[in-house]
């Protein structure tokens, strides 16, 4: 997948995760891996620039909270703007996915 598409889909997936609950970075990577049956194993460094740029856009907000272990963690929270952005990204993704299916599906029926 090219870099642009990767960033687009990753930010959509991160926003989707935050729609359910506030999370910190490492938790997001783990949850993403679990939910996708280990298909989406992000290179961990790529997560933070995406999260920080979403924060700059106002799509997410962050706050610090002390974990049970005593370690301070930075949690991310989906904002109203982020929720709107998620809906837009989901719509774009659905259009893209349908187009890909049509092309792949059409090619197969032609082969038969």
């Amino acid at each position: 997948m090219d870099k642009k598409m990767m960033a687009f889909s990753t930010s959509m997936l991160l926003l989707k995760l935050l729609e359910e609950e506030d999370m910190y970075g490492y938790q997001m990577i783990q949850t993403l891996e679990e939910k996708s049956n280990h298909i989406f194993a992000l290179k961990e460094g790529t997560l933070y620039p995406i999260l920080h740029s979403l924060e700059e856009q106002g799509a997410v907000e962050s706050y610090e909270k002390c974990a049970k272990t005593g370690r301070m963690r930075k949690y991310y929270h989906l904002t109203k703007k982020g929720n709107k952005l998620l809906k837009e990204k989901q719509k774009e993704w659905e259009t893209y996915e349908k187009a890909v299916r049509r092309v792949i599906g059409g090619g197969m029926s032609f082969a038969f």
């Binding site: 910190y24 970075g25 490492y26 290179k43 961990e44 460094g45 790529t46 933070y48 620039p49 920080h52 740029s53 924060e55 700059e56 856009q57 106002g58 962050s62 706050y63 610090e64 370690r71 301070m72 963690r73 930075k74």
Partner: protein, 489 residues
């Protein structure tokens, strides 16, 4: 954690930091990345991997440190609101040139108008360092502003009780009524920061700004500055109300939206009523001055007369070029005869008859010019009207539109700031300047309310341009540090 483990982790973080331009941001980014790597290393250790290897693996999983640093730098760098800075610079240049064109380009005038350059210097410095300093010292600054204001009030009270104008220690040369009001207006953004930091307290936090407004009323009443206080107080009142509505609308406070709006509106009304109490005569005078200036125009020194004159002259302005007046007309405007002899005006002043006034004024009208027939402080108080009368409606309206665009961009910049505290601080600055501009604009079309204020950046003195530069500088500074200052700071 062992020292070699420290070494691996620190080396990775240092490499990330090398790519991030804004140094104060390093600590927050390091903390987040460090927590992530430690979490991951602990997972490896739970699977039996040795500590050193676990950390090495966790660091490796993060990918290339420099690439990560470059991407983090993209998300966190200082920025400049260039169009806004440029517009403010244009306004300052217009203000300074406007003075020099009328008064002449002499060395003395250049030196006298040096405060415009000082204003730009203050604006620039505030943009560079203002917002982080304000966040750091908001509480102390609020206290300092209140102590300085209280000191001013007490010294005025003592002086008055002793029957003198000033006490030797009241520093009135540097601490004029304009400074006093400027400092109280500067307290609005600092109190807004305190409000935000106490947002969990809900209504209690919202009422902090109300408290400041009561102090303003109390201070200005006991400093015997009620006439001067009108526009500065209205500025503080409307700015505070705007900020209260903003924090409620954005749900920054721990209260319901409806309840918050009701409390903000009730607080506005209560403050306004308290201010009006005992000031009924002064307020009705200001309202008459605004709506029916002819009732407040007993002689040519009254603000009501200025309103009447400006409204009348604007009606004669050209689309382009100076208003077309014959020498005879100039003289009759300059002596006020156009209103008190040819018009409906009735001269009524003790000690100086209209004839006496005409004789006095004639000495300045040998070769009458437009500047001779306008109100005395036309360059300070009627800069927009002066442009319309001197250069025509099109240049005058162009100046007005430029000002509207500048203040519009100032406000939009505040709304564009992502950081809540930054946005609130910038909103305080832009609202205060925008409200002053609106009052000034009304006055320039003959609808003066209260004593004349300033047109920020264009028509100012040393004190007021310093205050305006600090306020606008805070807007620029909050925007500049938006992506690098976190809320905790």
């Amino acid at each position: 954690m062992r020292s070699d483990v420290h070494k691996v982790l620190n080396h990775f973080l240092e490499e990330v930091d090398e790519q991030i331009g804004y140094q104060p941001m390093h600590a927050a980014i390091n903390e987040e990345l460090r927590a992530h790597i430690e979490d991951k290393a602990h997972v490896y250790m739970e699977y039996g991997v040795e500590e050193e290897e676990a950390y090495e693996k966790a660091v490796r999983d993060m990918g290339d440190a420099s690439a990560l640093g470059i991407e983090m730098h993209e998300a966190h760098h200082l920025r400049t609101a260039k169009p806004l800075l440029l517009l403010l610079l244009i306004l300052i240049v217009l203000g300074m040139l406007g003075n020099l064109v009328v008064r002449g380009f002499s060395v003395g005038e250049l030196f006298y108008n040096g405060y415009f350059i000082w204003g730009f210097f203050v604006l620039f410095l505030t943009m560079m360092y203002g917002y982080p300093c304000l966040l750091k010292y908001a509480g102390k600054l609020t206290l300092l502003f209140l102590i300085m204001s209280a000191f001013f009030v007490v010294s005025r009270m003592v002086a008055r009780s002793m029957g003198v104008n000033h006490l030797p220690f009241d520093m009135s040369v540097i601490y004029s009524p304009s400074t006093f009001f400027g400092i109280l207006q500067l307290a609005v953004p600092t109190v807004a920061i305190l409000l935000y930091r106490r947002r969990q307290k809900g209504l209690g936090a919202l009422l902090l700004l109300t408290g400041l407004q009561f102090l303003f009323i109390w201070f200005s009443r006991y400093a015997f500055l009620l006439d001067y206080a009108c526009i500065p107080f209205m500025t503080v009142l409307f700015t505070s109300f705007g900020l209260e509505l903003y924090v409620v609308e954005k749900k920054y406070l721990n209260i319901e939206k409806k309840k918050g709006i009701l409390v903000a509106a009730a607080s506005f009304l209560v403050v306004f009523c308290v201010w009006s109490f005992g000031e009924g005569e002064r307020l009705s005078h200001n309202l008459e001055l605004f709506l029916h200036p002819e009732t407040q125009a007993d002689n040519a020194w009254m603000d009501g007369y200025n309103n009447v004159l400006i409204r009348h002259l604007l009606g004669r302005a050209e689309w382009f070029g100076e208003v077309d007046l014959s020498e005879e007309e100039m003289i009759r405007y300059g002596t006020s005869q156009w209103y008190y002899e040819d018009g409906p005006g009735e001269w009524d002043v003790n000690g100086r008859s209209l004839e006496h006034h005409i004789t006095y004024r004639m000495q300045f009208l040998e070769e009458p010019k437009l500047s001779d027939i306008l109100p005395q402080h036309f360059l300070n108080n009627y800069r927009i009207a002066w442009w319309i009368l001197k250069y025509g409606w099109i240049p005058g309206i162009s100046l007005t539109l430029l000002l509207i665009v500048a203040y519009g961009i100032l406000l939009m910049t505040a709304f564009r700031i992502r950081n809540r505290l930054g946005s609130l601080t910038a909103l305080a600055g832009s609202l205060a300047l925008g409200i002053q501009f609106l009052f000034y604009l009304m006055g320039n079309f003959g609808y003066q309310f209260g004593m004349f204020g300033n047109l920020p950046f264009v028509s100012e003195g040393l004190v007021s341009i310093t205050g305006s530069a600090l306020m606008a500088g805070l807007v620029l500074s909050a925007y500049r540090f938006d992506t690098v200052v976190t809320e905790k700071e």
